[in-house]
């Protein structure tokens, strides 16, 4: 579904990604793991077109999207949930969802505010509340819900567990598994191995802008050497 190969990206003169290549198949949850500064968020932004890749290819559903503008990539069915959440704080929950709304492709059940509220019940009760007056966990739910309103086929989920209480993290994991059951493909970036393990099928381990290891989640959990080399602090 998503095929990234030889992706390079720069911030100004700093070279961040050095040829990242990986695959995400339809319906699977793939975890992109690595320490702070390994290039996880940059990979997501480069896929989404928010950082223009300096070289390499990003194919989504067989079509080359590298170099396209973010809005045009989003319209092809890629959803992006940023790490910093980026809720429109002056807009109400309902308005935030409205900004994300896009028609569903043929044959797909469209996401509606009601369906989103069924996935995250606490959102349903605060549709008229301004986004700025929500807790961190509620904002995280809203930012996922807002992206879902665009009816994506694949979502890029950047560190959804960051800064959340353990109870909320568990709830977030249930939501991701629910999305997986509904057929959505998920590329998840995480530092929280516990959370990644709950939801992911496969793992990619990133260090200094290069994928160092790739395999199933079980294999990663069995391989202490890899975890010690690239993940634990």
């Amino acid at each position: 579904m998503l095929e990234v190969s030889g992706l390079h990206a720069h911030y100004g003169r700093a070279h961040i990604l050095h040829g990242v290549s990986f695959l995400a198949r339809e319906g699977e949850v793939v975890a992109l793991l690595g320490r702070n500064g390994a290039g996880k968020s940059t990979t997501m932004k480069a896929v989404m077109g928010l950082v223009r890749p300096s070289a390499g290819s990003v194919r989504f559903q067989g079509e080359e999207v590298a170099g396209r503008e973010p809005f045009s990539i989003a319209r092809r069915g890629l959803g992006y949930v940023p790490e910093e959440r980026r809720i429109f704080s002056e807009l109400t929950v309902a308005e935030n969802l409205e900004v994300g709304r896009r028609p569903a492709p043929d044959g797909m059940a469209s996401w509606t505010p009601a369906r989103v509220a069924a996935l995250f019940p606490s959102l349903g009760a605060m549709m008229a509340r301004p986004g700025g007056r929500m807790s961190g966990g509620e904002q995280q739910m809203l930012t996922i819900a807002r992206t879902l309103m665009g009816n994506p086929r694949l979502i890029l989920l950047d560190e959804p567990s960051e800064g959340l209480a353990p109870v909320i993290v568990e709830r977030m994991a249930e939501a991701v598994l629910q999305l997986k059951r509904e057929g959505l493909t998920v590329l998840l970036s995480e530092q929280n191995l516990h959370f990644a393990r709950l939801v992911s099928d496969r793992a990619l381990v990133l260090e200094k802008g290069v994928i160092r290891w790739e395999g199933t989640m079980e294999a990663l959990m069995a391989d202490e050497a890899v975890r010690a080399a690239y993940l634990t602090v």
């Binding site: 809005f71 940023p82 807009l91 900004v99």
Partner: protein, 581 residues
């Protein structure tokens, strides 16, 4: 609206307003008289302006949304210059009077005073428009998208919204409203070529005081400033022009983001890291030394006119270098640097006029006057950053300009101060030229020395990473304040010399176009090069001189030069030369 969504400070908005008035005049006077002719003409004028706005957005602004804000300001100022000359060509220099509005010609009694009906109508138009816009922004999907884009454009794009279309529609509506504003002035005021800069200076103040991007804030600020001016004229008739800008200064100090504005979410602002400032490379030094040698050796063989041009170039080099000092290493955009140039000139001129002081005293007073103003204004300006700081510097320059313009007893107002001539020994043009050259080169070299002194390093550290610089014990505020004052002192020396070279001082020395001159010189040379301001001042003074000599419509050509510069040479001439080397 336009600033909120596109973050572009659009000088051309004043031109849209002026064009609305001119177009309405043409339409209304040519259409059949009566309701349909008048109101139809007014609305059609607004719509035509909207279409022009879209053209400018698509052809110009789209290319520079990611450019530094100063380039955007300059590009839209280029549009202002072009529109001024096109309007002059189309409608001529004389003021035009429009017909009165049908059905609203009379007057009514309000509290025993006769009050024109049309003014009452205009008073109602304001809140009605605010209400309609509020509905548009809160009750339609388009409005929701616009408000979301005001907060975080990039995120809106990542959610699949075509920002380009959104920006263009916002620009269309904003331009229509500007055109409508101008068209509605037709029954009240004559239409003239000064409408654009007059309204834009006030509009900037209103928008900044209200909070950039806040519609109710702008409305509130317009009311506040309108009332201040209306009642101010009763109490301080001499300083009505100053009042608006004083309100702005006070509001920005108490609430740096305006009455109803919020701090921009800097987390998502594009981080521009400036490359390290390098000393001028070897070949560049040789070139500069060759220029200096020419400047010393050639003048004895020149005539008076050429000597005047050479003197002006020397002065402009220092003026540009002083602006470059706060813009480049300081990272603070000043849109009102002419204030310090002009105050230097007035510092000298006033001493001559009121105390008959000799030139030596006048030239000493110039940097003091400018430095004192820089010290006071700088305290306000260096607390803000980006567009806010640029707007505040503009406001202070307008305060200085309006004081010079309105305080006729002291400054001579529009007639200026005449008879500011050098002492007898410096009367010959050649001697005065060498005097200017020595002072300007010395001051420019001192500024350069400061850039590579620990003070200059600290200044740049504060520009590139304010938090880290503070954390290692640098006092960013005081460093920037000192730099601002130093730049003002240097501009004051240039202004003082300029006064004696021209023999006169006028308020135009501090007007917006002169500040733009300085910016153009710096940008033409390249902000992040040391030799930039020198190259820029030379090139710009020469281009300006040629344009004024060759073309009656020099504004048109200057505007076109600005647009070309912004679109094709964003790093300036020195920057391009360095890249090629």
């Amino acid at each position: 609206m336009i600033f909120g969504v596109t973050r572009i400070v659009n000088f051309a908005h004043g031109s849209f307003y002026m064009l609305g008035a001119y177009l309405a005049w043409t339409l209304v006077t040519n259409l059949p008289r009566g309701h349909l002719g008048f109101w139809g003409g007014v609305l059609a004028a607004a719509l035509i302006v909207g279409v022009l706005g879209v053209l400018i957005e698509v052809l110009l602004l789209r290319r520079i949304y990611k450019a530094p804000e100063l380039f955007q300001l300059l590009a839209t100022f280029g549009v202002v210059l072009i529109v001024q000359d096109l309007a002059l060509l189309t409608w001529g220099p004389q003021d035009l009077l429009g017909p009165r509005a049908p059905g609203l010609r009379g007057a009514t009694e309000v509290l025993g005073v006769r009050f024109p009906l049309y003014e009452l109508f205009l008073i109602a138009v304001g809140p009605v428009m605010l209400g309609l816009l509020w509905l548009l922004f809160h009750r339609t999907r388009w409005g929701t998208l616009v408000r979301a884009a005001t907060a975080d454009r990039e995120m809106v794009g990542a959610l699949g919204v075509n920002q380009r279309m959104l920006f263009t529609t916002v620009f269309f509506l904003g331009s229509v409203l500007a055109g409508l504003g101008g068209a509605l002035q037709l029954p009240r005021e004559s239409v003239n070529l000064q409408m654009d800069l007059a309204i834009i200076a006030e509009a900037f103040v209103v928008v900044v005081v209200g909070g950039l991007g806040s519609l109710p804030g702008a409305f509130l600020a317009a009311l506040l400033i309108g009332q201040m001016q209306a009642f101010g004229i009763l109490i301080f008739p001499k300083i009505t022009l100053v009042l608006a800008f004083l309100v702005m200064a006070v509001v920005l100090v108490v609430r740096p983001h305006g009455l109803l504005g919020r701090a921009p979410s800097s987390a998502h602002a594009a981080q521009v890291v400036e490359p390290p400032l390098e000393a001028t490379p070897g070949w560049g030094r040789i070139l500069l030394l060759a220029l200096l040698a020419l400047a010393i050796l050639v003048p004895p063989f020149l005539g008076d006119f050429a000597l005047i041009v050479f003197t002006e170039i020397a002065i402009m080099v220092l003026f540009a270098a002083s602006l470059h000092f706060i813009m480049g290493p300081g990272g603070m955009a000043s849109f009102g640097h002419a204030a310090y140039f002009g105050l230097g000139a007035y510092g000298a001129g006033l001493l001559v006029k009121h105390l008959a002081a000799p030139m030596e005293v006048g030239l000493l007073a110039a940097p003091f006057a400018a430095g004192l103003a820089g010290f006071v204004f700088g305290w306000f300006c260096v607390r803000l950053s980006g567009v806010y700081a640029a707007m505040l510097t503009l406001a202070f320059a307008q305060i200085a300009w309006s004081a010079a313009f309105q305080w006729v007893e002291i400054t001579g107002g529009d007639n200026g101060i005449l008879g500011v001539w050098p002492s007898a020994w410096a009367q010959p043009k050649l001697v005065f030229y060498y005097l200017s050259l020595v002072l300007c080169v010395a001051a420019t070299l001192l500024l350069r020395r400061a850039i590579f002194a620990p003070f200059g390093y600290a200044l740049r550290a504060g520009r590139d990473s304010p938090l880290r610089a503070e954390a290692i014990g640098m006092d960013g505020f005081h460093i920037r304040w000192a730099a601002f004052t130093l730049a003002a002192v240097a501009a004051g020396i240039a202004g003082g010399l300029f006064a004696y070279s021209k023999g006169s001082v006028f308020p135009t020395y501090m007007a917006i176009p002169r500040s733009v001159d300085a910016l153009l010189m710096v940008l033409l040379g390249g902000v992040q090069t040391i030799s930039g301001p020198i190259v820029g001042a030379l090139a710009y003074t020469w281009i300006h001189e040629q344009l004024m000599r060759l073309f009656e419509l020099w504004r048109l050509f200057l505007g076109a030069v600005i647009l070309l510069l912004v679109l094709f040479f964003p790093q300036g001439l020195a920057g391009v030369a360095r890249r090629r080397a």
